[in-house]
């Protein structure tokens, strides 16, 4: 078991190292296949670990940080949660790596690309398998660095480099909160081991627990693009499409949700934190879905949909539905990777055109891509009996079962979001694949490898529901597997409630799809295309610009910061500090000139001043003498 766990992380790491150190001297094919084989081997090791898994294991590889009573060894922890995530990550990332071989076939910087991609996976696996918080934080930052480097992969365009920097800086804001929480937890519990921390929640004063929970939530919000730190994700589309797929599906954005699930036994002791998580998730889900409704860029639609879906996962965590959240995380990884990779095929076919209003007719010209995208879209929209339907419904059920005014309201908003999700998903689908080809160019052929990759993902995404069927239809495999994780009461709704909720979800999905068909299907399509020529107004513009959050943050933080820096630069540094030095030097100089003008070279003047000085001295002595005599 120890060997398997080590291999899971070390293989991608070695792949990254070899490519980074001597990738340039290897043939292109070898370099590419090395990267893929590293992830493939990692997947094989994960499968082996799965087959020999019986109970949670903790292995210590080496000591790392140790000082007095502080210790954070290189220790890994495998339990159902980390195991299921490891399987998903290695599987999805392996496919994305294969896809990248075809997608990046023209790019000269493939060595840097594959090295970073491997490192990205290694960092994410470290994050998932880490047994203590400092080690998890190392993976956390590694993921952050790789995302920065990959989002700005085509850094020669300022826009892309800026997007990378934005992702890095915004997530850093959340990381600060996470870092504080790590240190605080050690101060309170004298341990950094996640397993120990999870069992020590009761010994922490409630208000401190709430504060730590909120800090963790803020840290997770940074990584997982939740309110209020979600602004970096739409811009992160600047990177290559497989990178977007990897960031959105398997690595990076799920890290925040994973963190909250990992520490759930600790944070679930504070109802305030749970409510905050649920509210954050719901608001973000609504935000993402509403913004996705009017986007024109294919990848931005998907980016906003990711924000929205991660919001659902947060909602699941907040409602205590760890199983449901994990389930949705896994299924979302499959169908979001599928959607992004299909989008990559579309973009390749359209000669790097990303505006969905200029696409069309791809159903006929790229049928394989169409079916792949359709499968992903059905899952995203929550079409009944697909994986996405069951996973999203699981979360909504968990929320419903919580009861109370707050959670009822959240359920309603969640259902509304599910409806909007169906609407925007099929809007995109119909605009991209429906109608006739609008582009002047003929569609470019999509490499068969890229289309082929869509197949396994589509199968897993569509059939993923079987992993965790609602209890109406039988027992959930995943919930049985994840059962050891569950703390507190098991969510076990009655069958009638469950059926009713399933029907409500189906109704939301069908309404959304139906409305999308009514607006964008058939002959109405041309109407919308004409409308799209007009500038956006009112609500549409508001949604298109992501609720103007970027402008709001610019107004609230960036402009004041720039003004403050300019104040310090122009006023404090240049005027006060430099100015005072300049004036002091000028003063000394003028004194020097004044004294210098005395040295006129006339001996008589020197003598006179000499005599005057002597007279002054004598006078002073005389005064001293007389005053002393008088006194």
């Amino acid at each position: 078991m120890k060997l398997y766990l080590e291999l899971i992380i070390l293989l991608p790491l070695f792949g990254a190292l070899i490519n980074a150190l001597c990738g340039r001297h290897l043939p292109r094919r070898l370099s590419e296949w090395l990267a893929c084989a590293a992830i493939g081997g990692s997947f094989a090791a994960a499968l082996a670990a799965f087959s020999s898994y019986s109970s949670p294991v903790r292995i210590e590889i080496a000591s790392w940080l140790a000082d007095f009573d502080f210790s954070a060894p290189l220790a890994l922890y495998l339990d159902p949660l980390s195991l299921s995530l490891t399987l998903m990550i290695t599987f999805v990332c392996g496919l994305i790596h294969l896809y990248s071989v075809a997608y990046m076939a023209e790019d000269p910087c493939y060595v840097r690309y594959f090295a970073l991609l491997n490192l990205f996976v290694a960092a994410m696996l470290l994050l998932v398998l880490a047994e203590n918080l400092p080690l998890l934080y190392m993976g956390w930052e590694g993921v952050g660095f790789c995302s920065y480097a990959l989002i700005g992969f085509w850094y020669k365009e300022v826009k892309n480099a800026d997007a990378g920097r934005k992702a890095f800086i915004v997530t850093r804001v959340g990381d600060v909160a996470f870092g504080i929480a790590i240190v605080w937890l050690f101060m309170l519990c004298s341990t950094e081991s996640i397993v120990d921390l999870n069992s020590m929640g009761g010994s922490i004063p409630p208000w401190k627990l709430t504060a730590i929970g909120l800090l963790l939530l803020f840290g997770a919000a940074g990584k997982s693009a939740q309110a209020p730190l979600m602004v970096w994700l739409p811009d992160a589309m600047a990177g290559p499409t497989p990178v977007s797929a990897q960031i959105h599906a398997a690595t990076m954005v799920t890290a925040g949700v994973y963190l909250l699930m990992r520490l759930f036994p600790l944070i679930c002791l504070s109802p305030t934190v749970l409510a905050a998580i649920a509210i954050t998730g719901t608001l973000t889900a609504l935000y993402g879905a509403s913004c996705a409704l009017v986007q024109r860029d294919l990848k931005r639609v998907l980016a906003y949909s990711t924000i929205s879906q991660i919001g659902f996962m947060m909602l699941g965590v907040g409602a205590g539905g760890i199983t449901a959240a994990t389930f949705h995380l896994l299924i979302h990884a499959f169908f979001k990777a599928l959607l992004f990779l299909a989008a990559g095929c579309v973009i390749t076919a359209m000669h790097h055109e990303q505006d969905i209003y200029r696409m069309g007719g791809l159903r006929k010209t790229a049928p394989l891509t169409f079916y792949g995208f359709l499968a992903g879209a059905l899952c995203l929209a929550g079409f009944p009996l697909t994986g996405g339907f069951f996973s999203k419904d699981g979360i909504l059920t968990a929320v419903w079962e919580q009861g109370g005014t707050l959670y009822s309201a959240l359920y309603t908003i969640g259902l509304l979001t599910a409806y909007i999700t169906a609407l925007y998903t099929f809007r995109t689908l119909l605009l991209v694949f429906g109608g006739d080809c609008r582009s002047e160019h003929k569609t470019a052929p999509v490499p068969p490898l890229m289309n082929f990759i869509l197949l396994p993902l589509a199968l897993v995404a569509l059939a993923g529901g079987l992993l965790n069927l609602p209890t109406v239809f039988g027992s959930g495999l995943l919930s049985g597997f994840l059962a050891p994780l569950i703390v507190g009461p098991v969510i076990d709704p009655s069958h009638s409630t469950e059926l009713a909720l399933l029907l409500a979800s189906s109704a939301a999905a069908f309404t959304g799809i139906g409305l999308a068909w009514l607006r964008y299907g058939g002959g109405r399509r041309q109407l919308r295309l004409n409308e799209a020529e007009q500038p956006l107004g009112g609500l549409s513009a508001f949604l298109f610009h992501g609720w103007y959050l970027d402008d709001l943050y610019a107004l609230l933080f960036i402009h004041p910061f720039i003004r403050l820096s300019q104040f310090f630069w122009k006023r404090v540094d240049e005027q006060v500090i430099d100015g005072s030095m300049d004036r002091f030097a000028g003063l000394l100089g003028r004194w020097g000139m004044l004294l210098g003008s005395l040295t006129c070279g006339r001996v008589s003047l020197y003598l006179l001043s000499f005599a005057a000085g002597a007279a002054l001295l004598v006078g002073w002595l005389a005064w001293l003498m007389f005053s002393a005599g008088g006194g």
């Binding site: 210098g596 040295t599 006129c600 070279g601 006339r602 001996v603 003598l607 006179l608 005599a611």
Partner: protein, 103 residues
Amino acid sequence: MTVPLIQIIILAGIIFSLGLICTLVWRSNVIMLLVGIEIMLNGAMLVFVGGSYRWGAPDGQIFALMIIAMTSAEVSLALAMVVYLQRRHKTVNVDDFHELKDQ
């Protein structure tokens, strides 16, 4: 008859002041400047001698003798320089010598 010390000091002061005034005022001739300095030195010497007499100690008189020796040396050097300056600048006016000033 003993002259009180205070009177000697007053006399020395008068001599010193006269020498100083001579130095400061008579600027058209370097030699007069040197003469002024000599007069001031004589005033100072007088104080030494008077003080020596007052307290019956010989060191003041020894100093006076040393000053006499020193001034004679100084005057001979100074006069040599005056001759040199006169040859070089064709003048002995004090105010005309200002080479030490920076240009």
